[in-house]
């Protein structure tokens, strides 16, 4: 143990205490990024990927339609703030409820099929929501989306603060991400979390042991949808804008790429993936508007060469370190 360098020790400590590690890291994160807006974007998209990762990484269900829940959350906040002038708390609460009910209903249909059917059924239902939002102009603004969403102050017991400076909004998001991470850790460490992983490894065996795998998958689907909806709601608060493209397949594809790049089924993976993806987009889009060709190629090579993702690769190295 004396021979292991300090870097190795830190890495091993990090993989043993993922929760503390990630919270500490995000506490100082905005100060090491080139600008704070990027840090906030990474945090929100990381939360979205984290929601997706519950379903794909831990339960083994690949959904190609998570734009649906991101979009439902985003539209709930947008509609409540701009049409009903509610407080931020009410709007965010509604984004959780709406995305939860949405994933409850769509999940019921999608989970009737397994494997590849499931992935594409999700895509089909997300596209359906996209077309509905497109047509329902009076509620959603149609193709234009919702613009100039009001920015009410955040109501806290006794006082209210304005959260729209870059740094304040970062820490506002940070609080939600921290809660989400703690909840996720609790879920994964609970017997329920073990059943999720059992389903991922072998669903037939999990059923044979006596678990109602369909209900467990449904619950996992709903939890995943709610996390994604929260990310969508926060994104709307941040952008003051809801675009129709939030519901489009590109959003579903983006979260799939972020999670896979970072490492599906790992605790850090979604945030690393979101960071790499957004950082690449940020850098490449300075030079060309066709950044998608680079991101697409990188993702293509990632699936081909290291489908376990960046953190998945690092993690397996660390596990080997622990043994030696």
């Amino acid at each position: 143990m004396e021979k292991t360098s300090i870097v190795k020790r830190i890495l091993i400590w990090a993989s043993n205490h993922p929760l503390w590690m990630i919270i500490l890291f995000f506490l100082i994160f905005p100060f090491i990024m080139p600008y704070k807006a990027l840090a906030t974007l990474i945090l929100i998209n990381g939360l979205f990927s984290l929601g997706f990762n519950i379903l794909y990484g831990y339960t083994g269900l690949l959904s190609f339609g998570h734009a649906a829940y991101f979009g439902l959350g985003a539209y709930s906040v947008g509609i409540l703030l701009s049409r009903f002038q509610t407080s931020i708390w009410t709007a965010l609460l509604f984004s959780l409820i709406v995305s939860g009910v949405g994933s409850l209903i769509i999940g019921f249909f999608c989970l009737r099929r397994r494997g590849i059917y499931f992935a594409l059924l999700n895509l089909a239902f997300a596209q359906m929501l996209y077309f509905i939002a497109f047509q329902w102009v009076s509620l959603t603004g149609g193709e234009v989306g919702l613009r100039n969403i009001p920015t009410p102050a955040l109501q806290l017991p006794g006082f209210s603060i304005d959260i729209y400076s870059p740094l304040r909004f970062y820490y506002f998001t940070f609080i939600f991400v921290t809660i989400a991470l703690i909840v996720l850790k609790r879920i994964l460490d609970s017997p329920f979390g073990r059943v999720l992983e059992a389903i991922r490894e072998n669903e037939n065996r999990a059923r044979a042991i006596g678990y109602h795998t369909n209900q467990v998958k449904w619950l996992s689907y709903i939890i995943s949808g709610v996390f994604s909806g929260l990310a969508g709601g926060l994104y709307t608060l941040y952008m003051h804008f809801v675009g129709i493209e939030y519901l489009y397949w590109t959003t579903s594809g983006m979260v799939v790429m972020m999670t896979l790049l970072g490492g599906a089924g790992t605790f850090f993976g979604p945030f690393i993936g979101a960071g790499v993806y957004l950082y690449l987009e940020d850098i490449i889009s300075i030079y060309t508007k066709h950044w998608m060709i680079f991101v697409g190629s990188i993702f293509f090579l990632c699936v081909l060469m290291f489908p376990e993702g960046i953190w998945g690769r690092v993690k397996s190295r660390i596990d080997r370190l622990k043994v030696s």
């Binding site: 190609f64 397994r114 590849i116 081909l304």
Partner: protein, 294 residues
């Protein structure tokens, strides 16, 4: 609804039938690849789109629609074969989600390449002069090009049927769909058949692209909505079933067309409702076998 004259109704059914033909061409390719390789080709819509753009290119340089109709499927199918040979093949036997993710990444690259070369705008694509103008079908006038699309699709399906049912290669393909290990045990190099099937499926998608171009326009995202609709066709028909793909393609084409006539805002949404109903009453699809790659 009752004021709609009978001829308009007939026309609408016929137009739906034509749309259904494009669905069928794509769904057959998707089903063929899936049945043989158990790979869902997410780039299928992108191959369809490349078919349309390759047609545009061929028309610019050669100006002959008929020649383009022959060359485009071969070129697009060739690209498909390259994708299978150098990328998809490495993922056989691993997690079945990986080929889907891989082809998704590839489709993004394909779309972006088209955007770089042609831009994002919609390109007009005129049908060949011989097929312009309507044709009198007795009850109503119908665009002759649309009729041509129906004829070409039927010919392609017939050829495919002959290939699958009457030739040795077809026998191997059908056997490989059932049990590829057994085929290999018989001493047949199945990897060549995989290459062929992938090329055929993507080539037919390319053909569908150039056929659809004069009817639906040419733009980079044309493949994505088509892919989703085509996947709905496959779910309704039953994954891996060619007959199911044909029936449900036609049914859904007519349903979409009808809805456009009665209540246009629902036109894009109605096929998903049909799919939801089918999933509730018959989860494996109209002609599907239960348990294939689940």
């Amino acid at each position: 609804m009752f004021e709609i004259p009978l001829s308009a109704l007939g026309l609408q059914i016929f137009m739906g039938f034509t749309l259904g033909m494009i669905f069928v061409l794509l769904a057959v390719g998707l089903s063929l690849i899936f049945g043989m390789l158990t790979v869902v080709n997410f780039a299928h819509g992108a191959f369809y789109m490349w078919g349309a753009y390759a047609g545009l290119l061929a028309m610019n340089y050669m100006g002959n629609f008929w020649l383009a109709l022959v060359i485009v499927p071969i070129v697009v199918g060739g690209v498909g074969m390259l994708l299978e040979r150098f990328a998809v093949r490495r993922l056989y036997g691993l997690n079945p989600d990986y080929p889907l993710l891989l082809t998704f990444g590839f489709s993004l690259v394909m779309i972006e390449i088209v955007r770089i070369i042609w831009g994002t705008a919609d390109h007009p694509f005129s049908s060949p002069p011989a097929l312009q103008g309507p044709i009198n079908l007795g009850v109503f006038f119908f665009p002759s090009y649309w009729l041509f699309v129906i004829v070409v699709t039927i010919v392609v399906l017939l050829l495919l049927w002959i290939l699958l049912k009457k030739t040795n290669i077809g026998l191997i393909i059908r056997a490989g769909t059932r049990d590829s290990l057994m085929v290999r045990v018989c001493g047949i190099d199945i990897s060549k058949i995989w290459l062929l099937v992938f090329g055929m499926g993507t080539g037919i998608a390319g053909l569908a692209g150039i056929l659809a171009a004069p009817m639906r326009g040419v733009y980079p995202e044309m493949g994505i909505s088509m892919l989703v609709e085509c996947f709905v066709v496959v779910v309704v028909g039953g994954m891996g079933s060619l007959v199911g793909a044909i029936y449900s393609g036609i049914i859904l084409g007519v349903v979409v067309s009808f809805t456009t006539l009665i209540y246009p805002p629902m036109a894009n949404i109605v096929i998903f409702l049909v799919m939801a109903v089918i999933l509730l009453i018959r989860p494996s699809g109209l002609f599907g076998e239960k348990g294939l790659l689940e």
